[in-house]
Symmetry: C2
Subunit: 360 residues, 2 copies
Amino acid sequence: MTDTTTDTVGVVDVRARAESFGDGHEAAEILASARLCVDPELRRAIDSLPGSMRRIALYHFGWEHADGTPAAGHAGKAIRPALVLAAVRALGGEPAMAVRAAAAVELTHNFTLLHDDVMDRDTTRRHRPTAWTVFGDSDAILAGDALQALAQRLLAEDPHPGASAAAARLAACVVELCAGQHADGVLERRRPDEVTLEECLAMAEAKTGALLGCACALGALYAGAGREEVDALDAFGREAGLAFQLIDDVIGIWGDPGRTGKPARADLAARKKSLPVVAALASGTPASVELAALYAGVPGEGDLERVAGAVERAGGRDWAQGHAADRMSRAIGQLARAVPVPESAGGLLALAEFVTRRTH
Amino acid sequence: MTDTTTDTVGVVDVRARAESFGDGHEAAEILASARLCVDPELRRAIDSLPGSMRRIALYHFGWEHADGTPAAGHAGKAIRPALVLAAVRALGGEPAMAVRAAAAVELTHNFTLLHDDVMDRDTTRRHRPTAWTVFGDSDAILAGDALQALAQRLLAEDPHPGASAAAARLAACVVELCAGQHADGVLERRRPDEVTLEECLAMAEAKTGALLGCACALGALYAGAGREEVDALDAFGREAGLAFQLIDDVIGIWGDPGRTGKPARADLAARKKSLPVVAALASGTPASVELAALYAGVPGEGDLERVAGAVERAGGRDWAQGHAADRMSRAIGQLARAVPVPESAGGLLALAEFVTRRTH
């Protein structure tokens, strides 16, 4: 176990470390601490907006009610800023110097949420009505635009030597997120039998994996890491992001409504082509034929139980959980490539474990 | 005329130079040359986009038809990139070094056009159907998001020493553009008698003046100018931008449809609260009472001639033209503050004269 001359042993070392964070306790602490670090920077950035844009942003982050009174809101899990800070620490940098980068990633994530909710006509976000339902489409689009600009402004004004490369990488990531959201729309409009699992995985990588990878890459840049380490951290985040999306899709079908805040079987009711469903449809089993017929019809209440059952019998749930574990394994392999001292990777591993073991 | 020891004489010098460009001939050459400089950089940037986003951007810029076949399109007048390059030259810099900054400003402008057209439900842009009418709202929003990111990416990857400050300034400008577009929507939804001229001028400065000012400021930054010169160039562009908007509004009422490509009296038919209309309504003349009554009713064909007549008799046209001249005068004063050699300001003045003397 002390032999570090081969990659394989490195992976085992890191994996052993990962297991000690398996209960998710440390991850919760890391997330809470990231929230504490980043929130003042985020608030300061949002306070710099003109009143009309500030109001929408404060509502979206859960810090104000629609009428402008303060709310003890919930601005999300802060997974992306926590990844930035944990990546800095993993590569021997000083997380306190990367708070602006962490805030920039969180602003970018929230810009995409504001716009995605408009496009997808989603009415609920973090247990509250989405911004477009409160302020209208135009104001939600404008607030999203302003948050994208604010993210870039934070990096452009940051004197840290890694800031320019971080800004370029974040901008390239936004382009990928846009292509991913476009692909999502295209796949949703196709018939279920015209969608391949490869297309869905590529879409999930662009839509979800890219920003988690970018968060880790920005942390590496702020730690002064070289090109190879930065790319390995990006790959770690992407693989973990795919695992995250797979588990998210499992929760979207089998999650407990009391914990998710969404109606039971929400993704099935919306006939979403989520990864377990597409895997089930492609399985060539008798249950996949039953599922295809059910997905072609109009969803009814009792129907959803039958659909969930067919996805499960066609192997969609097992595949998603197995593939998530596989992606996590690849993620850990990428991490081992870049992090010379496995102990320092603990934060990143705890976060990756957290997002793939959660149940809501 | 050779005495340059006082500001007043400096202004006269610069003004004399401006008059020699009054026929707009040199401006046309400057714009054509800016287009030639910036287009290869713009094309390269857009070619770097993933296929789905590239297709929409190429259509929007007029370089492809909706089916993806090449179009000998018209990507607009290139006023903003021309201002960047002319500002570099005015402050003794090398315009060739600022081509990326010029392209970034043009990308930013086009991102706002894509989004504004969605919000305003405008169906025609540069004599062609707007992107959202061809590709849908979602894709037009996503392509706009991608162009904003691309603009920031160009600056983040630019090794020029002025690039970071330019990126920060451009991002701050985008926030102001968003607030301006928001204000435009708010003012359009109010009753005409609830809108003040000051509010409309402030909105026009944020929506139009800010990016013209930013273009000039970026040129100054790329010339290595100090804070005062950069701010003076920004103020020059803002004042010229206000003049531009006033003339635009005059053209929106009295422009020749054969030259503007828009229906006659388009702004009146849409009951737009453009600056000449708001000035006319605020004039306290008998014609302003007539105008208020007409604007409260549903527009009819013959009606529009009566509305245009009332705006003119209430002094709206004269006020707009006079105020545009006043703003141009202030613009020239700002320019004289920053440019030590009046001869080098010729390009900026020619552009400013061009945008305020055009008739379509």
